[in-house]
């Protein structure tokens, strides 16, 4: 147990070792988790490093800025970054590692690189913007319709701020005599409480949503004010989603804050915000007056147009009537002309008809006469033939009768030696008609014989050969 050491001895050896091993200074990146300035002006800080999620502290060290250094370093940092040197900031500082036997390990801060913090602020700012964008609310307030005359304004400001006074002054003493109604909702406009304070004020205004036309968030005065709260997510999100248009006049020198971005309208100063409202009212009135002029002009035009229309209508009457009358006259004239000639055709046709009739009379009469005459001639011609035929026929008949008579005349038979025997004036044709002793008379061609029958004989007919 030779190597027993007193605490002091050990701390001395640690100190020697550290002094030997960490002779130079180092640029270290850390977050200020605690910051205290004592009466002598020395600044004592707790520097920490958090894990990637920012939840857990993974390293911690004490830091000291001696007052003579701090007096220069603080304003340098604050003017460069526009941020108060305070807890919560991420900083890059030049440190030497110190070990004090009594106080232990600490880092003496000799210098600071504000541009790192600036970059860090910008990075965080971008993160906030991205989040707002991702949530789709960044443009929400901008999309709210601003009343044409934002006459009733809820103001969020510090009561005592010069900026607020300027704003009210500018608003109420506008050169046009417009009336504005403003109501102050006081809030801290800087420092750690600012964000919550402003959000609270917004919540209050929200209760009177219907009453106000717009919200003005204004701030002005302090040159080195820390405006970090206006880059905070919660405030920006509240502003973005606020149901009334928010007009900001925060007074940034350089980049606009995230709240400015989410607000409906961003003005640089409170005075500018007041001017904005006045100009809106002025624009409105100008628009009204413009409309008035247009109404006057259009009304006059309308009346002139109507006058012109009436004149046009009037001017149409006569030509139209005249045209009708002319057309009617022409039609009449055409009818008249036609009429003057048409009857001649009519009468001519009738005349022609009459001529045709008289011609037809002559021709049909002549035809009739010819036919009758011809008929008579035919009769004359026919009668001779008919009569002669008749005569011929009669003569023939006569001749036939004469021939028959010649043939039948008994004289001609007797002439050839035949005779006719009669008994009691009966012609005897058979021997059986007579008997012996009868007296018969015989007619000859010339003369007659009377005789007595001696006998009779039956003999065949001489002529027919019959018996």
């Amino acid at each position: 147990m030779d190597n027993k050491l007193t605490l002091l001895e050990l701390n001395q050896r640690i100190k020697e070792t550290l002094n030997r091993e960490f002779q130079s200074t180092y640029w270290v990146i850390a977050e200020i988790s605690e910051l205290k300035i004592n009466r002598k002006g020395h600044c004592y800080l707790d520097l920490v490093e958090k894990d990637e999620l920012g939840d857990r502290i993974v390293a911690k060290a004490k830091g000291i800025v001696w007052s003579y250094t701090f007096r220069m370093l603080k304003p340098y940092f604050e003017t460069t970054t526009g941020r108060e040197f305070k807890q919560g900031l991420k900083i890059m500082v030049n440190v030497s590692v110190e070990f004090h036997e009594l106080y232990g390990y600490s880092l003496y801060i000799h210098d600071i690189e504000p541009s790192y913090t600036l970059g860090e602020i910008a990075r965080r700012r971008l993160e906030v913007i991205k989040k707002l964008e991702d949530e789709g609310i960044i443009e929400m307030n901008k999309q709210l319709p601003l009343s044409q005359v934002p006459q009733k304004i809820a103001v969020i400001s510090s009561k005592t701020a010069a900026g607020y006074r300027d704003f009210i002054e500018q608003l109420n003493n506008n050169p046009y005599g417009y009336i504005f109604y403003s109501k102050l909702f006081p809030a801290y406009m800087q420092g750690d409480e600012a964000e919550d304070s402003i959000i609270k004020a917004l919540e209050k205004i929200y209760q009177y949503e219907d009453l106000f036309d717009a919200v003005a968030i204004i701030r002005g005065g302090g040159a080195h004010a820390d405006l970090g709260c206006f880059d905070q997510y919660h405030l920006a999100a509240n502003v973005a989603q606020f149901p009334l248009p928010v007009i900001t006049g925060i007074g940034h020198e350089k980049d606009e804050s995230v709240v400015d971005m989410t607000a409906h309208t961003k003005m640089k100063t409170p005075t500018a915000v007041a001017d904005f409202f006045v100009s809106k009212a002025y624009e409105y009135e100008e628009k009204l007056l413009g409309l008035r002029d247009v109404v006057v002009e259009r009304t006059n035009q309308y009346i002139n147009l109507e006058n012109q229309k009436l004149r046009n209508l009037y001017s149409q009457i006569y030509p139209n009537v005249k045209s009708i009358l002319e057309k009617s006259r022409n039609i009449l004239e055409i009818r008249k002309e036609k009429f003057l000639h048409i009857h001649r055709n009519f009468l001519n046709k009738k005349q022609q008809n009459l001529t045709a009739y008289s011609k037809k009379l002559v021709s049909s009469y002549e035809l009739s006469f010819q036919k009758n005459f011809h008929e008579l001639k035919n009769y004359e011609r026919n009668i001779g033939n008919l009569v002669r035929n008749y005569m011929k026929s009669q003569k023939k008949h006569m001749e036939n009768l004469a021939k028959a008579k010649e043939y039948l005349d008994p004289k001609n038979v007797l002439k050839r030696g035949f005779s006719i025997t009669q008994k009691d004036n009966q012609t005897v044709k058979s021997s059986r008609q007579v008997k012996k002793g009868d007296t018969i008379k015989t007619c000859l061609y010339e003369g007659k014989l009377v005789s007595q029958i001696d006998y009779t004989e039956k003999e065949e007919n001489i002529i027919t050969g019959k018996k």
Binding site: E380, I383, G384, M391, Q394, M398, L401, L408, I420, T427
Partner: protein
């Protein structure tokens, strides 16, 4: 007969002739009658001939007139 000539129609005469001739043909006549009937026929024929001749002359004259026209 002269009177008859005037009175007896040609047609009647022809009819009588035809009637007598039929009787002769049918031997409905006595020889004595026969002679007289034949005689009658001869007379009638003669009459008719005369009538025909006369008529023909007259008619021809008229026809000549007609045809001459």
């Amino acid at each position: 007969m002269a009177k008859e000539k005037q009175q007896l129609k040609y047609g009647d005469a022809i009819e009588e002739i035809e009637k007598i001739l039929k009787q002769i043909e049918n031997e409905e006549l006595d020889v004595d009658d026969l002679t007289s009937k034949v005689k009658r026929v001869s007379e009638l024929l003669s009459l008719c001939k005369k009538k025909l001749r006369t008529t023909e002359e007259e008619v021809e004259n008229i026809l000549k007139d007609i045809e001459a026209e």
